[in-house]
Structure formats: C-alpha cells, structure tokens
C-alpha cells in the first residue's frame, strides 16, 4: 500500500544535498500488551547482563568460583559447570551457528523479533527514552521545550538527563569488565583505584559507546549501520508475520465525524481515523501505514497506540497487528485468514537447531578430561644407535583438564620390541614412566621410542601412545608413526 505523495512533501531541490540532517524523534508514552512485553524483556535482559557476573559457582579449591568468567590471562572460559580451553573454541562456533539460525527462525515466524524486543541497541535506547520522558516529559512537552530554547529549568533538566544516561552507560561498561575477572574483587579494586588500567579503559570505551549509541545515534544505528535489516529483507517470505497496518480495514482513512455521516449514508469508509498516534509513538519515527519498511524495527508499540484509540472510539482493536499481505488480500477477497507456522523453512531451521544442539551436547558430554597430542620430530626423523637399533623422538603434550592433580603413566604400542623413554622421568610403575600433572594444566614431554635392530621394519610403522591415569584408569591415546632411517 503506497500513500500518494504530494510533490510539496518531496525533497524540493532536484539537485538536493548529498546528505540529510537527522530528524529528531520524540516518541510518545504508550501502554498496552506490547509495551508490557518490552518492559519485561528489558528487565530480564538487563538483569542478566548486569548481575550475571555476581553469580557464584563452586568449582573446588584453586579454581575461580564465578559462574561466568572469561579468564583471558589463563586462557580459560568458565560457564557454570563447563570449563573450556582455547582449543575447544569450536563450542563458540556452534553457539554462534545456533544463534544465527534462531535469528532466522524468529524472522520466519514473527519478523524482526530480535530488533523489536531483544537487540541491545533497542533495549538501551528504550531505557534512555524512558529516562528522557521521566525527566523532560512526554512527546508534546519535549517538542515544546526544545522549541522554546534554553532556560535555567531546561538546563537543569538536561543536566539531570545526561547525568542519568552517563550513570547507566558507566554501569554498562562496568558490568562488561566484570565478566573478565573475579567480580567482587574487581569491584573493590575499581573503587579503590587499584584495578588494572585496561579495566578503566574498557569501562571508558563502553560508557562512551552506550551513551552515544543509545542517547544520540538511536534509530540511526538501525537504519544506516546495522546489516540485519538488509539481510532480514532477503530472508523473509510472504508467510512471516510482521507488524502490519491492515489497510483492507483501515482505508479509506476518514475522521470520526465524517465516518459517521458516511456510514449513515451507507458508504463504505475505513476504520483508520488518521489520528497519527502510531507515528507519534514510533521510536524510529516512521509511519507503519506506508507498509513494511527497513526502518521499522517491529517493536509493536504502534499496535498498542492504535488499540488504545480503537478501544476509545468503540471499534475493534488490532487495526495494526501481526499480519501479512497474504491475509490482507484474502480478507479483501472475502476468504478466511490463513496462518502457516509450519513451513519448509521453519521446519528446516528447527531441525538445524536441533542437530547442531545435539552435536554440541554430545561432544560436550563425551569430551575427555585427559588428553594427549603427539608430534613426531622433524629433524632427525630417525636415529641409528651404536647397536644398530633405531630410535624416534616425539614431543608429547598431555592435558589435564580436571581440577585435581593427577599421576599418569605413558606406554607405547607398536613394534614388539619398542621401548619407551621419557626424558627426565624414571620408569617406575610396572616399568612405565609415570608423570604427575598439576590440575588444569598441560605438560610437554620429550618421548623416545627405540626399536631393536633385529626387527625388520617398514619405512614407516604406526605406533600408538597411551596415557593412563594411574588412579582412575582413564585413558587418552594418540597415534603417530615410527620411521626408519
């Protein structure tokens, strides 16, 4: 549905400027179902973000007791019962894949759910608007005050607003750094100015970005900076539900009085009374009646605004609602509405999420806490000893991912006469070298395998190294080759 545009509304200069000034938006206060949903989701999202670092999780002595911690100094990521090492970064890949597909699934079901309710840009902008409204008043007041210019009271209000904004922004940056160190300790250090410089720098950066993005850039981020609206437009289909003005019901827009007269005379007029409430509440300053568009973050606030008006004038609510073009056309043709949630794409997305999730759960539950990697010497590949036997050298790395110190023995399987020696370690347990590894550590060992001259070996023979926990019996193994000169 395209509104006819009068030439006077257009950019009057044909050689118009290459850039336009940001049009300031004064969203009006609104209440209703979607506003309530947005408040609840904002509280949940911000609550998680601000308070998660303070959640404790006991991992035993010597290990951090913070539930979520990115320990960059020690290369560890802790997430409740999970502890990840740098080489397990693929779990993050899996999480990112799932996140992307969930985004696609939400999009094919309810359009830009992410943009409207969950995106940090939306959440913080919404919070900043709430502060603005509380301090400066609602839409009309703000527009009036802005037009009147600076008075003492206005200056005081602006100071208060920006102070609150900066405090929220500072808290946002502060919460961020708490994910990278023990939160209570870092808090204490921050207050006493004992914290590392990098913590203050990051708080500064995030205070700045939060303040600027949520206080000033706002909808500009969504319209000009964010790639998702462009990708979303390419990913959506005609069945996806979007915040839609049902023009089949709304047009022709007619004022309340004229509509009564027209209806009395038996003429057909639309339910839209052109009150512009949907425009007044919109946080990106658009008119939803122009149809689905890039700048619409689909927050649903126009639905609340329109419903309020419709209720007041005694008409059916949801003149604006989650709907799609297919149903608009069906209604215009007098057919019943159809909603198809189960479609090829929603099924595929769901299956993909399940598959990736299942793979991740499987690998997570089956990952070993004892691991070994072996690397054959490159130079020399093989050494002939004075009695004619052949020796190969390997670099072995044993990983103890458990929170306890462990004692492991090392053995080799391969040619029958193969003997194993670990440099700096005596063979003690049943003639196998035993090594102790500290909790949560890796140990690099130099391992030598010797095969007697009587054995007639191929140029390359597979050998298998086994590392065995002497207490629990847990085994980790790695395969390599034994090479002759």
């Amino acid at each position: 549905m395209n509104k006819t545009v009068l030439p006077s509304e257009l950019n009057p200069d044909p050689d118009g400027p290459l850039y336009v000034a940001q049009k300031k938006i004064y969203p009006q206060r609104v209440s209703g179902t979607f506003r309530r949903i947005k408040w609840i989701l904002m509280a949940v999202c911000l609550g998680i973000y601000y308070f998660l670092p303070f959640v404790r999780w006991n991992r035993g002595p010597g290990l951090p007791d913070q539930a979520v911690l990115l320990d960059l100094a020690n290369n560890r990521f802790y997430f409740f019962f999970i502890e990840l090492w740098p080489q397990e970064v693929y779990y993050f890949t899996g999480l990112l894949i799932i996140a992307a597909i969930v985004l696609f699934l939400m999009n094919s079901l309810g359009g830009r759910v992410w943009c409207g309710y969950l995106c940090p840009q939306t959440v913080w902008t919404d919070l900043f608007y709430a502060v603005e409204r509380a301090v400066e008043g609602d839409r009309r007041e703000r527009m009036k005050k802005e037009a009147e210019g600076l008075t003492l009271q206005r200056a005081a209000e602006l100071t208060l607003k920006h102070s609150i904004w900066l405090m929220i922004a500072w808290w946002t940056g502060g919460a961020w750094v708490l994910y990278f160190a023990d939160a209570p300790t870092l808090m204490k250090e921050l207050v006493t100015f004992q914290a590392p410089m990098v913590a203050y720098i990051w708080i500064g950066i995030l205070t700045f970005t939060t303040y600027v993005l949520a206080g000033f850039m706002r909808e500009q981020v969504c319209v000009y900076m964010c790639p998702w609206p462009r990708i979303q437009a390419a990913l959506t289909d005609e069945w996806a539900l979007n915040v839609t003005y049902k023009y089949d019901r709304g047009e022709t827009r007619t004022s309340l009085k004229k509509a009564e007269q027209a209806r009395a005379a038996g003429e057909k007029v639309g339910d839209c009374i052109d009150c512009n409430q949907c425009v007044a509440v919109c946080p990106t300053g658009i008119d939803i009646r122009d149809g689905s568009q890039l700048a619409c973050i689909q927050c649903g606030l126009c639905i609340d605004a329109c419903d309020t008006v419709m209720k007041k004038i005694g008409r059916e609510p949801r003149l604006i609602g989650y709907d799609n073009d297919i149903n608009i056309h069906r209604r215009m043709e007098g057919k019943p509405e159809v909603f198809r949630t189960i479609r090829a794409r929603t099924v595929i997305y769901t299956v993909l999420i399940a598959v990736v999730g299942a793979i991740m759960l499987y690998t997570l539950s089956h990952r070993t806490l004892l691991d070994v990697n072996v690397l054959h010497d490159r130079n020399p590949l093989a050494v002939r000893l004075s009695d004619g036997s052949v020796r190969n050298g390997y670099t072995m790395r044993v990983l103890n991912k458990q929170g306890i110190d462990r004692v492991v023995s090392v053995e080799v399987e391969g040619p029958p006469s193969a003997t194993l020696q670990v440099i700096g370690v005596e063979a003690t347990a049943a003639e196998r070298p035993t090594i102790s590894i500290g909790r949560d550590q890796t140990l690099e060992l130099r391992v030598l395998v010797t095969v007697g001259s009587e054995e007639n070996l191929d140029k390359s023979t597979p050998v298998r190294f086994r590392v065995i926990d002497t207490k629990s019996g847990e085994v980790a193994a790695a395969t390599d080759n034994f090479v002759t000169p």
Partner: protein, 295 residues
C-alpha cells in the same frame, strides 16, 4: 549499462514518490537517498584524524630519514622495552640455571623445560653450522642424537666438551690425535689395507677376499690398541672412537678407513667458555643430553 540514457536530473519516481539522482541503467533509475549528515562528519573526522596521525607518529619518508612525530615514537623502542621486561622475568630462572647443578636441572621439570628451550635456541645459533639444526651432524661432525660419544656422553662430559672444545687450543681442551700411519711411514700401504679390513671385521662388515685376519689382528695390537683399547671399544679420554659399533664418523667403507689410517684424523671443536655464560652452557649441555643419546 547505458549511461547515455540519462534521465532528467531529479525526476519524480512515481512508485516511491521520491526524486531520482538522474542515473539510469537499462531503464532502472537510482533513487536519491541522501546520506545522513553525521556520516559525512564522520568522514571528515577521519581526515582530521589522519592529519593528526601524520603529526603525532612517524609518517613521512625523507631523503635519508623520516619524520619522527611529536613523541619520537618507535615500535623498535617498544620492542626493546618488552625485551627488557622479558629479561627481568627470566632473570630469576636464568640465575637458577647457572647456580643449580646439572643433575638438579634435570630433576626439576620446570628447570629442565627452561634449559631445553634455551638450549635449543642457543644450539641453533651456535652449534647448528657444524652439527646441523637437528644435531644430526655430518661426515666428520658427530651426530649428537645417538648414543655414541667420542668424549663421553654423561652430562658432565658433554658440559666439559662444550666448555673447552676439542683440539681448540684452550688449555683444558680435549686432546688426542690419530697418527697418520701412512704418511709418517709407520705402516706400509698393504699393511694399511689389512688393518682396515680387520677394523671392518670388528663390527661385522664384510672383508676383502684373501684377507689375513691374524695379520690384521697383529697389526691392530701393535699399533691401535694404545688408543682404541684391546677390545677396540675406544677411549673417551683420548677421543678414540669405538670401532665395534654401527656408527662411523667418517664412513665405514674400506677406502675411507684406509684414508683415515693413512692420514690420521683430528677434528676440531671450538671452546665456548667465555663466549657463552655458564647458565647458557649448562642449558646447552642439558639440551644435547636430552636429545636421547645422553648417558
């Protein structure tokens, strides 16, 4: 593309109700969608930033030099600072390396790892030209991976060899020379052939047809046992190699052994005492010992 079909600039697009830029490609016109003004400001800001960067940091090449910037910043100086920090961190452990005994270094896993890492680096810088990066040696330069040692393979013996070298001129260097039996006229050419074949027989290598083993043994006993020992297993005090094993420094073929007996051998290894500090030499000794052949 046909830019010739230039539509009138600023024509009204009926579908969107917006003006166009006047650019047209195959009938498709471009809508005039102005950039937000802050975007342009951001662009100008980057220009200002780049000018500031030229002033603050070294940026412009001059004929022989370059502009140094306000703070005389240099990434090379940064590296020097970082290296100094690293030295400060390593200071304690390096001190431990030079004071701890070789056995203690080998017993302490942390010190052992440190010594092996350092030894490997220092070996690459100083020893690899002769012994090879993998310490595999070559003809005349011993392979340090195997268990055959001219001057002994214990930690202390390896350390001594590194410190003073062999025939290096240092007062405490390993000395010991193989006589040039042929050149000096001690043995006649046919006697040299005989003793060479006898030496080959000691490690089970095939001998020349008609070789007189008894004559060879007699020649060996008269001329060679003084250094190589009665069992021919060599003597690390003199650097005399074991002649019964499978490892040959110069080669085991008859011609090479004849050459060795005729001209003698006296390989030289330099002394590293004074050139490298004690901690470094210890690290190198531990590293060489850990290659696998250490006794």
């Amino acid at each position: 593309m046909n830019m010739a079909d230039h539509a009138p600039h600023g024509e009204l697009d009926k579908v969107t109700g917006r003006t166009t830029t006047g650019h047209e490609w195959d009938g498709i016109q471009e809508l005039n969608t102005p950039l937000p003004r802050w975007w342009v400001w951001t662009f100008y800001a980057t220009i200002v930033w780049s000018i500031a960067y030229w002033i603050v940091y070294p940026a412009w090449p001059l004929v022989k030099d370059h502009t140094t910037g306000w703070f005389n910043y240099s990434s090379r100086a940064d590296v020097a600072v970082e290296l100094a920090k690293l030295d400060a961190i390593r200071g304690g452990k390096m001190a431990a390396l030079s004071t701890a005994s070789l056995e203690d270094i080998q017993k302490d896993p942390a010190l052992l790892a440190m010594a092996r890492a350092k030894g490997k680096a220092v070996f690459g810088d100083n020893c690899a030209p002769c012994h090879g990066t993998g310490a595999t040696g070559s003809k005349g330069f011993p392979n340090l991976n195997d268990d055959d040692w001219l001057w002994g393979g214990s930690l202390d013996q390896i350390m001594k060899t590194i410190r003073f070298g062999a025939r290096s001129g240092h007062a405490e260097a390993h000395e010991g020379q193989m006589l040039a039996f042929g050149k000096e006229g001690v043995l006649k050419p046919d006697e040299i052939v005989t003793v060479a074949n006898y030496v080959r027989s000691l490690s089970g290598l095939p001998t020349r047809p008609g070789f007189d083993k008894a004559a060879g043994e007699k020649l060996f006993t008269e001329n060679c046992v003084a250094c190589h020992g009665e069992d021919a297993k060599g003597n690390p005090e003199l650097g005399a190699p074991n002649l019964t094993d499978k490892i040959w420094l110069y080669g085991s073929d008859e011609a090479t052994i004849i050459e060795t007996v005729t001209n003698g051998r006296a390989g030289v290894m330099p002394s590293w005492e004074g050139r490298l500090d004690t901690g470094t030499i210890k690290a190198m000794a531990v590293y060489v010992h850990s290659l696998g052949g250490g006794k």
